[in-house]
């Protein structure tokens, strides 16, 4: 306990000294420190903050030091998170490398691959994207067809991915490919390659929210060196599923938060009468939602405590992913409803900036129950793997 207190005091002092004041303010979408070769920080301090945290190993605090981390225990890492939250410090790097690829590489990669890729991820030097879904393989992910042929000294990849988040901005991709057409799950491999390789093309897709975070990604005779296959040939499905757990976990712990809290919109745009929100029907639905959100937070905390207690919480990720999607969609619906017409502005003058953001978030949230496994798929996983209902 004393050790943890010492660590807390040291972390607090270091953060006070090293986290620039501008990095203790709320972060907009444009401020996100994705890193990568073409990283353009929204403010010089973003880079200063990133570099200082990288030097500490605190962008990936629990990773071993030889891979760019700080080798912290999970308790120390939690304390660090608390101390960062205390001063509202922004994350120094946000990346799919840290959330998803790094953890599975740690588990399934060989030593050479780990030494090659993990430190780059820790330093925010390479921005990764995720090549999973295809036009014919969404919920039925294992039906993917992107072809990967063994050409002796290299692999040759042909096919198409879709919903590839930020493929147009990413430096490298971790990608599911078909190495055997005779087996479904058992014919999938997990490869990684540079997005600058000849034959790779990413085209952004414009969404109903007006933004284009996703791409269609095309591979035409893309040559991939053989040492860039992770795990075993045809052994990619296990890695793919594990990575999805990290993806769902991350979606769950980070949530789809951000922006003005829905009750703040309600207080500003509906207002109080006799100490209660003036719209009784809205107040009831808001309260149900806020209690659901509270219950969800308590469940994430319980799941973390149980994981520490040694319980297998793998099944919990499906519950959490299902719940967080539903919750965020309800939150955004209530957000725009609270504002009436003012919640439906598209851009330009006449609207508060956070109201305009909320309109976009409302539409963006419709994807929450689709991406990373649809809510229906999560309920399937739950009913079969947790409740053991028959096939």
């Amino acid at each position: 306990m004393t050790d943890l207190t010492t660590f807390r005091n040291e972390a607090r002092a270091w953060l006070e000294e090293n986290c620039p004041a501008s990095m203790r303010t709320p972060m907009t979408e444009a401020d996100r420190p994705w890193g990568g070769r073409n990283f353009k920080p929204s403010h010089p301090d973003v880079k200063v903050w990133m570099d200082r945290m990288v030097a500490k190993g605190w962008t990936v605090p629990t990773w071993p030091k030889e891979y760019g981390g700080a080798g912290l225990s999970s308790d120390e890492s939690r304390v660090l998170q608390q101390e960062m939250a205390r001063i509202n410090a922004r994350p120094p790097v946000v990346s799919f490398g840290i959330w998803m690829f790094g953890p599975v590489l740690m588990e399934y990669g060989n030593e050479e691959q780990k030494r090659r890729f993990l430190p780059q991820i820790a330093r925010g030097e390479i921005r990764w994207c995720q090549g999973y879904s295809e036009p014919g393989a969404g919920s039925d992910l294992a039906g993917l067809q992107t072809k990967c042929e063994d050409k002796g000294d290299h692999y040759l990849i042909n096919g198409q991915k879709v919903w590839t988040s930020y493929a147009d901005k990413a430096d490298w991709i971790f990608c599911l490919v078909r190495t055997d057409t005779s087996k479904k799950q058992g014919g999938i491999s997990f490869v990684v390659f540079d997005m600058q390789t000849a034959g790779v093309e990413a085209r952004p897709i414009k969404l109903i929210s007006g933004s284009s975070p996703f791409c269609e990604t095309f591979f035409t005779d893309v040559k991939v060196p053989k040492d860039q296959l992770i795990g075993q040939v045809n052994g990619g499905w296990e890695i793919a599923k594990r990575l999805l757990q990290y993806e769902r976990q991350n979606i769950s712990s980070g949530g789809f938060g951000g922006g003005t809290e829905v009750e703040d919109f309600a207080l500003r745009y509906v207002g109080l009468k006799d100490g209660k929100l003036a719209d009784a029907d809205f107040r009831t639905r808001l309260t149900i939602h806020k209690m659901e959100a509270h219950a969800f937070d308590l469940t994430v905390r319980r799941s973390q405590a149980e994981a520490k207690g040694g319980k297998d919480v793998g099944p919990t990720t499906s519950i959490i992913k299902y719940a967080v999607a539903k919750m965020n969609q309800e939150r955004r619906e209530l957000g725009i409803e609270a504002m009436g017409m003012a919640g439906l502005g598209w851009d330009g003058p006449g609207f508060e900036q956070d109201a305009l953001d909320e309109t976009r978030q409302w539409l963006r949230a419709k994807g929450n129950s689709i991406e990373g496994g649809t809510s229906e798929i999560n309920l399937n996983v739950l009913s079969k793997r947790v409740l053991n209902l028959p096939e």
Partner: protein, 372 residues
């Protein structure tokens, strides 16, 4: 499930095996069919007390175990699974809490000791309407020499027919005051009520009932402080019992989906039912987190304990409502028959929902605490 201490795990396991072996649903059904007055037998209560469960929140100095609400919740969850009829809610949870929080040394010495040993059943007599509304009090206490005289009526008092004493809320000169009133005092009248779920309940009338000055619980005119804190414990505690009841109802239903065949296949293979089962499970897991958090917050005297108690009671009410409705629906016709347990669960569910305030009451309370 929260991470438990070794002592808590032992108690939970003991509660589980006793409930399953000595107090299964068939035992509750028998009490109902035999119309046992009050809904349970005094010797059963004594048996429960002998295992220490009547005094879980009673300090050791007064013969209790002094282990707190998280622990009491573990027992309530297990007894809730089998619809065990006992005075755990009225006495071990509510009356004990009121006395721990507001009782004088003398009251604790006399009554907490008897609660822990199973020799006294006590209950909160606080509501005057068919809706839970503890802040609206018409029953009056007027000074009479050194003591008081009580006049008025309390409704839907849990285990009211069997109780040896009541904790009564009364209107006094400038506020609400709590009194400890013996059930056999002159002027106390009882109307025993027959409820759908067979839980013991009675209306209690107070006709010029004489109460001594020493029988005030907490401070004169300031009884709401103790009452509200007691009701936080009551709400979180009954939510734990509801968690057990709902979990068992869900598991019975899930088992049925795995054995019932229609169209030549198990009905559990139908996605329409699988998804509904999945949603119920998510709901149960979220509600479990709330119940455990509320009980721990009470044990830790956390400032948000009151909001968490309302969160637990409101969510658990919604969850048990859904699960028991689905229990009947997914069983089809058999779920409508008295011979099946689904009816016992749905009746208990509605009763527990209405006790100490339903989802609407607690949502309003939570919203007020949050400033909207």
């Amino acid at each position: 499930m929260a991470v438990l201490t070794e002592e808590q795990t032992m108690l939970r396991d003991a509660a589980r095996s006793w409930s399953q072996e000595s107090s299964p649903v068939t035992a509750f059904r028998k009490l109902r069919d035999e119309k046992v007055p009050g809904g349970f037998k005094r010797e059963t209560w004594k048996e429960i007390a002998d295992m220490g469960w009547a005094g879980i929140v009673v300090p050791e100095a007064f013969g209790g175990v002094g282990m707190g609400y998280q622990t009491l919740g573990l027992v309530l969850e297990e007894t809730g699974r089998t619809l065990t009829a006992s005075a755990l809610i009225s006495t071990a949870l509510c009356a004990a809490s009121a006395l721990v929080l507001g009782g004088t040394e003398q009251q604790k010495q006399t009554w907490l000791t008897k609660i822990a040993s199973g020799d006294a059943i006590g209950s909160l007599a606080i509501n005057e309407s068919h809706h839970h509304d503890p802040h609206t009090v018409q029953l009056e206490a007027k000074r009479d020499g050194e003591g008081w005289r009580l006049n008025g009526r309390k409704r839907f008092v849990l285990d009211g027919g069997m109780a040896d004493f009541f904790i009564v809320s009364a209107k006094t000169a400038s506020g609400i005051t709590l009194f400890l009133v013996m059930a056999n005092s002159a002027g106390v009248g009882k109307q025993v009520l027959s409820m759908a779920d067979s839980r013991g309940m009675a209306d209690i009338s107070f006709d010029n009932v004489k109460v001594a000055a020493a029988d005030v619980v907490g401070h004169i005119d300031k009884g709401l402080a103790v009452l509200d804190a007691t009701l936080d414990r009551a709400s979180a505690g009954i939510a734990a019992e509801m968690l057990g009841t709902a979990t068992q109802a869900f598991e019975i239903t899930l088992d049925y989906l795995k054995v019932r065949t229609q169209f030549g296949r198990l009905i559990g293979t139908f996605q329409a039912l699988q998804h509904r089962a999945g949603k119920m499970f998510v709901d149960l897991e979220l509600s479990r987190s709330c119940v455990e958090a509320a009980l721990s917050a009470i044990d830790e005297n956390a400032p948000n304990a009151s909001a968490l108690a309302s969160l637990a009671k409101a969510r658990m009410s919604d969850t048990i409502h859904l699960v028991t409705n689905e229990m009947v629906q997914m069983h089809g016709g058999i779920g409508m028959t008295d011979v099946h347990d689904a009816g016992l669960y749905i009746k208990r569910a509605r009763m527990a929902e209405a006790t100490f305030g339903g989802a609407g009451f607690h949502r309003d309370r939570y919203a007020k605490a949050m400033g909207y």
